[in-house]
């Protein structure tokens, strides 16, 4: 794609044989490999969503019957969560940016990094196989005994896929933590780190401490199915609820794997486009860690109606409320950063502002759900569906898109078309709200999730939701088309198109193979926008002719 390029060698054009990509140890190329892979899964999960949203246009089963419908929403949930959202920002932007942001030449363990992509892809192939052979109908939560005693679909394949992909997550997390601890450039103290790094660090803690628990859990389900060794099997005294406890012990923290890296992206974007240091840098940094740690103690709020003791429920409820504190700290501090900033509304900033609003709605409705009495009213309704989509799609996906636009010139050396970018961001924002806001009302009125038919009075809101989903889909498609177009035709980018602080903007775009010719020395805080001239000059001190 860079055939007409000048002589300058960078990580993209240095060698372009298949093995130079498939056996690469370069963290930047591994990030790109991940990007391509997760886009495939995003597409698959999106197709499933299109199909069931079409089914929900009418109250009766016109398009698919309940069995197919169950498989569609499971396919959507499994691919979007395990094969798209969890790796999205960490494995793509994190892999690409983390070493550059801390002034390192690569991750601490480049081979483990590459292995993680292979392991992830292998897990993904198992997930694909499960879909190709007819799908899974348990929902992404794989509750026993749906997934054990009464399983009638490809549970083992899907569980194996998740089990394997989990190891990719662990490898990524391990690499992040060691790299951040051991590879920082001279002068780059912990409190000079960009908040993106803090976000990745907090995420990595969850990846390392949470993922092994889901691994053993799905392994036990697999063993139960394969060998008839039942640990969750009530017939021999086992308890299906133990599965729910183990599952949510991982999967609730995993929800924060799906938001913390996004918060890191938002901090970078907000600082850059309001030309200000993030207000209360230290508390924003620590709030990431607080969310990661608190997240391990709230899993019981998924189980308020599953025979858990009332007192356990009360404690889980209170602990869940506590998560609101660090989350609110972030939102307030971003808002305070905007205050008196010189704000420019480029595409990444539009996504970041969208994130703040949508995440706030998603987070506040989370408080409704953490309240036991309200939870019982809206449990397993569309209210829950709307809530977590506001966080995961309105939050994480917005942040992912914002981050992709922000660092696109760094990754590929080309600018995306700005006008199209802003337009698509607005389309996505409108489409998203039209899709999911009606679902809050549907859930409040009592429409349960995971059914393919519904009473007629719910049709208007469902039609609105499906219409919104179409607009949302069109928005994504638009982004995809102009980004691919820009790879070939986009305006060439300078090193620092946004005049942003951060070491990644001090290397050329795209970066040289080993990032820095000489290890950079850091002598200032992150987001030090007081001395504007520093960023205006387009300096390639990082070395344009490395290697």
């Amino acid at each position: 794609m860079e055939s007409g390029d000048t002589k300058r060698k960078h990580y993209l054009n240095i060698e372009n044989t298949p093995q130079s990509w498939l056996l690469t140890l370069d963290h930047k190329r591994i990030g790109i490999l991940y990007l391509v892979t997760i886009l495939l899964f995003f597409f698959l999960g999106g197709v499933a969503a299109v199909l069931f949203r079409l089914e929900l246009l009418t109250p009766d089963a016109h398009l698919v019957e309940h069995e197919t419908y169950n498989r569609l929403f499971t396919m959507h949930g499994v691919t979007m969560i395990f094969f798209f959202l969890i790796p999205s920002i960490p494995a793509v932007l994190g892999n690409f940016l983390l070493p550059i942001m801390i002034g390192a030449r690569d991750m601490a363990f480049p081979r483990i990094n590459l292995a993680s992509w292979y392991v992830f892809t292998a897990g993904g192939l198992f997930g694909l196989a499960a879909i190709v052979f007819g799908g899974v109908d348990t929902g992404w939560t794989f509750y026993t005994p749906y997934s054990s005693t009464y399983a009638n679909s490809n549970v083992i394949l899907a569980a194996l896929g998740i089990f394997i992909a989990g190891f990719a997550s662990i490898m990524t997390g391990l690499n992040f933590i060691v790299t951040i601890h051991k590879m920082r450039a001279p002068g780059l103290t912990w409190f000079r780190l960009p908040l993106f790094i803090w976000g990745q660090y907090a995420t990595a803690i969850i990846m390392i401490l949470g993922t092994p628990v889901i691994a053993i859990t799905v392994l036990l389900v697999g063993i139960e199915r394969l060998f008839g060794v039942g640990i969750f099997d009530p017939a021999i005294g086992g308890d299906p609820l133990l599965f729910q406890h183990l599952f949510w012990f991982y999967s609730h923290p995993a929800v924060y794997i799906m938001i913390l890296p996004g918060m890191g992206v938002i901090s970078e974007v907000i600082a850059c486009f309001s030309r200000k240091r993030i207000f209360g840098y230290h508390v924003v940094a620590f709030s990431s860690l607080a969310i990661a740690i608190l997240g391990f103690f709230v899993w019981g709020h998924h189980m308020f109606v599953s025979s858990q003791s009332m007192y356990a429920g009360m404690i889980f409820s209170i602990l869940s409320f506590l998560v609101a504190i660090p989350s609110a700290i972030k939102v307030f501090n971003w808002t305070a950063t905007l205050y008196k900033g010189s704000i420019s509304l480029d595409t990444p900033m539009l996504y970041a502002l969208g994130f703040i609003g949508l995440f706030t709605i998603g987070g506040l409705t989370g408080l409704f759900l953490a309240t036991m009495a309200i939870n019982i009213h809206v449990h397993d309704t569309y209210f829950v569906v709307a809530h977590f989509h506001y966080v995961m799609v309105g939050g994480m996906l917005m942040a992912f898109l914002g981050g992709i636009h922000f660092w696109w010139p760094k990754m590929f050396g080309r600018m995306y078309p700005e006008a199209w970018g802003r337009f698509a961001a607005i389309v996505i924002f409108v489409g998203f709200n039209l899709t999911f806001f009606p679902q809050f009302i549907l859930g409040y009125l009592g429409m349960p999730r995971r059914y393919h038919v519904y009473p007629e009075e719910f049709q208007v809101l469902n039609v609105m939701s499906t219409a919104g989903a179409s607009i949302l889909g069109a928005g994504y498609l638009m982004v995809f088309v102009y980004l691919v177009w820009s790879l070939f035709k986009g305006r060439r980018s300078v090193s620092n198109p946004w005049c942003a602080a951060g070491l990644e903007w001090r290397v050329s775009s795209p970066p040289p193979q080993h990032n820095f010719k000489k290890a950079p020395v850091v002598d200032r805080d992150a987001y030090d926008y007081t001395d504007e001239d520093v960023y205006k000059s387009d300096y390639d001190s990082g070395g344009t002719s490395d290697g």
Partner: protein, 240 residues
């Protein structure tokens, strides 16, 4: 990679500045790996404890059917293998590649003895249809003959109650999954040691470069410690 002026030895990867940085990274990475391993086994231990509290009699009975002699013997073997592993690390630090080979071989041997004993124990469970799964068949007479029911529970337990047999099945589900996972970790460790043998044979290790031996050692000690918890939980608790 002639970008740094200082000498860049073969075993120092290009992205590290110094041997020390590389060694610290490897060691830190290994500790994080062990942290995730603890969580992995932690899920199993949690399940075991929950059910042990729920069905104390059936679990104690199942536990009494295990061979405490073989278990104790294996514990000794495994602790011995940790010693030989530590000696291999010491040999690597002093750069004595011949000694590394000797101690690694000793560790592999002891590890294999452990696995061999495990096969004998599994075979015994197979003979008495105690292997968890569809083949499991609870034989009340065998339990009575082995006097496996703890005396304190003797009056409360009806060994012919099918529910009781099911709960013993649950104990054996955990027994096989937990010891099986542990054995799998040992097999992986022994596999890694073959790679160490090759490297030591080529005289790769020395005072500047011994991380692989040290990391394998950490891993091996961890697997050892898992057994140190498994042995009392599975074999000793509720013993009469």
């Amino acid at each position: 990679m002639a970008e740094t002026e200082t000498s860049h030895p073969d075993h120092l990867a290009h992205h590290f500045d110094s041997v020390e940085q590389q060694r610290e990274s490897a060691s830190f990475g290994m500790w994080l790996f062990i942290a995730q391993e603890i969580m992995f086994f932690g899920g199993l231990f949690l399940g075991y404890i929950v059910y042990r509290i729920k069905y104390p009699m059936a679990f104690a009975t199942g536990s009494n059917l295990l061979s405490i002699e073989w278990g104790a013997f294996n514990t000794a073997v495994l602790i011995g293998s940790s010693l030989t592993m530590a000696l291999a690390v010491r040999a690597a630090q002093t750069g004595n590649n011949r000694l590394i080979i000797r101690w690694i071989l000793a560790t592999m041997l002891l590890g294999s003895v452990f696995l061999g004993v495990k096969v004998v124990e599994y075979k015994d469970k197979y003979d008495h249809q105690l292997v968890a799964g569809p083949m499991f068949e609870f034989d009340a007479d065998y339990v009575l003959e082995r006097e496996a029911v703890p005396a304190v529970y003797a009056d409360d337990i009806d060994v012919h109650d099918p529910q009781f047999g099911s709960n013993v099945h649950l104990f054996y589900s955990f027994y096989f999954v937990m010891t099986g996972m542990h054995a799998l970790h040992m097999i992986i460790g022994i596999g890694v040691m073959i790679w160490l043998l090759v490297k030591a044979y080529r005289k790769r290790f020395g005072p500047d470069y011994y991380s692989p031996v040290e990391m394998t050692g950490l891993y091996w000690h961890f697997v050892d410690i898992v057994w140190i918890f498994l042995f009392p939980m599975l074999y000793l608790m509720g013993r009469h």
